[in-house]
Amino acid sequence: MDDPFVLAGVELSSRLILGTGGAPSLQIVDEALAASQTAMCTVAMRRVDPATSGSILDVLDRRGVRVLPNTAGCRTAAEAVRTAHLAREALETDWVKLEVIADERTLLPDPIELLEAAQTLVAQGFQVLPYTNDDPILARRLQQAGCVAVMPLGSPIGTGLGISNPHNIELIVGEAEVPVILDAGIGTASDAALAMELGCDAVLLASAVTLAQNPARMAEAMAAAVIAGRLARLAGRIPRRHHAHASSPTEGMAVF
């Protein structure tokens, strides 16, 4: 099926974007990458630790996976903008997953700081992919600011609660003119399929795979779920009905 996923003018071969955080080793990341068939992975920017051996970048390079730096941990627009600049120098990409969180307990985006950071980074030439609340109006404002995608959460980061407000996700999808990427809260494959059925263009998840008992197998499940959900969306589901509707002919029954 010819159904390309184009993000900021770049065609990606998979609608599953993998976060690499939480995996106990680079070996497990590597196995999950292979099983997921992903084309893009997020990384965080942190101080160099001379004691660390091996680099996540080497693993991504070997698999031919595009890198998407994030601004995880930033609490203000100013911090996020500086981190995006660091990422651009480090990774020579102007793509950034913009995260500006309000507090450690909820890890929910701070909408005021997020929008300000998005406006600043767009003006500085970045391709901004904001991690946002599932708020249709904030998503609209982020698009108006020039973001190349909007990435609403299904539920808070790391909770695995799935999509707690599918209606809002549908509203965001309904008026989006840029790709909508469901980001955060995915717990298992059916959550990822639902995101795609709701009309999201892609799914970004980390913990659901990296912390699964078998990360590679869950990565494979997520890849299948994203494809299944996308196909179902394109196929068009039947309407929900209150009463049964026979699928076998009611005419021509044998008479006993």
Binding site: G22, A44, V48, S55
Partner: protein, 66 residues
């Protein structure tokens, strides 16, 4: 000369450039970024950027993240 790198005092040879320091501490300049005294220094300037005693350096790289 003594500088502070990622919160730790470090002794480097006089005249060490930013590029040399990054290679020494991070193994290569690939995937790294630096902040010197609060300013992000563009990659294009690293080769010719001489470090000075007393400077505060943050040396950053990509790690696993969500």
């Amino acid at each position: 000369m003594r500088l502070e790198v990622n919160g730790t005092a470090r002794d480097l040879d006089d005249g060490t450039t930013l590029a040399a320091m990054i290679e020494q501490l991070a193994g290569s300049t690939r995937g790294s970024a630096v902040v010197v005294d609060g300013e992000v220094v563009p990659r294009s300037e690293w080769r010719d950027y001489p470090l000075r005693p007393g400077q505060t350096v943050e040396l950053i790289t990509a790690v696993q993240g969500g």
